[in-house]
Symmetry: C2
Subunit: 76 residues, 2 copies
DNA sequence: CGAGAATGTAGTAGAAGTACTACATTCTCT
DNA sequence: AGAGAATGTAGTACTTCTACTACATTCTCG
């Protein structure tokens, strides 16, 4: 039962940094399609990868991943 | 490549609360042996389960899980 | 328009995580 | 000593995650 939904903010953080999936994937040491799968929510990362992502973006895991939907930032 | 080591403090937190693996497993909605595997480090949990564990213990994920070894609390 | 980069979709294959069962071992506690 | 709880070990089966390849689509910029 690890198939439950985990929401993530990877696209937002990546956009903030202005880096491509390919570059992020390279920095994380994973395949670039893996980042695509994560961003599209096709599955959630392993804990190992989640920790690496949080480490890369220099934020706590909870800032990127959550069991509950994130509040929208822009509501215009 | 999610086979890398993730250190965890589940045994310590569980001991602090004085609950058994069985009870923790029940609270998390997983098999009690799964908790055993995690505590023994046979594998690390999915992100989903890690978030549930952090939620259960009411601490950030980083308090329980880390890519790097935790400092020992008692060094006597 | 044309080229290259970024992203989306689809498929196979293998590694890792979880469930479950059964039994052994250790630990309390009376 | 004996009972019951907690924990460790072993094994099978299934799901999820990751790698990888290939190709389609969209975007950007000359």
């Amino acid at each position: 039962m690890s198939n439950e939904i985990v929401y993530n903010r990877i696209p937002m953080l990546r956009a903030e940094r202005g880096i491509s999936r390919k570059d992020l994937a390279a920095a994380l040491g994973v395949h670039y399609q893996t980042v695509g799968y994560l961003e599209r929510g096709e599955y959630s990362p392993s804990l190992f990868l989640a920790l690496k992502i949080a480490e890369y973006f220099e934020v706590p895991v909870e800032v990127i991943f959550s069991l509950h939907p994130f509040a929208r930032l822009g509501s215009s």
